[in-house]
Symmetry: C2
Subunit: 223 residues, 2 copies
């Protein structure tokens, strides 16, 4: 066979459920029954329960004291605060990075932004993270970088549909270009300010969308 499919059940189940939560297949609030998942993946409940604990630790599912697991919901308030945190840390990373950046880092960033300009909508979120990752790498702060990665992957990724519908990517790309220019000029203050705006502007817009959608959903539910 071409590859080794014999991965531990816990891992593959965890990965698959995580992916389905992130891409919206399992929507907010959906009940995750151990027996259903077990029969879906043709495994026993034992690995399923461990997978749910792992995902609960990632705040993707919530396990109530009755034992029932559901997909967590994203409140506009907590989303905004996550963006604030993201901005705080990313600005710090950028501030530490800029003095240590070499020409090749700038070149890589430009290259990635070009890829972003041409990429399919599906690829946007991961490529966007890679772009930011390159900018922060010189700072050499693996832990902070990891926090950012988590915020991007575990949380931001769940809003992909919003991001796509918002269609602010052209502006994002322009802002990326500006950011790179400022880095190249070693304009730390300007770059940090640009980055903070870049993050928080889209944050407010997305939070508004979130709010109005949840309002709509609640109205539909009460019919």
């Amino acid at each position: 066979m071409s590859e080794n499919n014999k991965q531990k059940a816990v891992l593959s189940v965890t990965e698959d459920i995580r992916a389905k939560i992130l891409d919206g297949t399992y929507p907010e609030g959906m009940a995750l029954s151990q027996v259903d998942i077990a029969s879906t993946y043709q495994v026993s409940r034992t690995p399923v329960r461990e997978a749910l604990q792992i995902l609960a630790g990632e705040e993707l599912v919530e396990i109530r004291d009755t034992g029932r697991a559901t997909v967590t919901t994203i409140s506009p308030e907590s989303f905004l605060e996550k963006c604030e945190l993201r901005a705080l840390i990313e600005v710090k990373l950028l501030e530490l990075s800029i003095p240590l950046m070499g020409a090749e880092d700038i070149a890589k960033a430009r290259e990635l932004n070009e890829s972003l300009k041409k990429c399919a909508p599906e690829e946007w979120t991961p490529l966007n993270y890679l772009f930011h990752e390159i900018l922060y790498k010189p700072a050499n702060r693996p832990l902070m970088q990891n926090v950012i990665k988590d915020l991007h992957h575990r949380h931001y990724a769940r809003l992909k549909s919003f991001i796509l519908s918002h269609r602010n990517t052209p502006r994002s790309l322009r802002e990326h270009d500006e950011l790179i220019d400022r880095c190249e000029r070693q304009d730390i203050e300007g770059a940090c300010y640009a980055l903070e705006s870049h993050i928080m502007m889209s944050a407010y817009a997305l939070a508004e969308q979130l709010k109005s959608q949840q309002l709509k959903r609640r109205q539909t539910a009460s019919l």
Copy 2:
């Protein structure tokens, strides 16, 4: 009976192992065998496995791809970076808090610092966290506050023995007093600077101790 002892096994096992890791009963690198734990708590391996997954999510234990679980180790580098992150977020919280502080917040902070002056060594870590928590409450940033709480509880607490041996608490208490004064005077910049020094100074001292102890331990091990 005075209380309901019938808690779920997963929870009580998780809590107990967590406490033992934090207080050093289970030291860095110690192997956590499922069967041993199960027999220790008189439960089957099923809840033990879930508990280990939860603790792995908290980065208190590491589960290797062989399935073996061990208590995670704290490298001086990662400790310093955690302190940097802590300082970054706490300074932000303080900056947001000060303009919203009332007289009763200041009073509470003073009160807590007085308790700190008189408290037993055992009580220092949790009380110290409470002191900081009060200062950040007006900022109304539950998520950031939670990150800070985690950093304090899950990580800082493991260094209790170092903190005690370091005996820098008198200076800490003076710094706390100064911090409160600056808050009362609405001296945002000064307070933030004082807080950052307060955190990072002890961070560097602790990191040095960590380094020398790990060096000593490695030398002893190689005998």
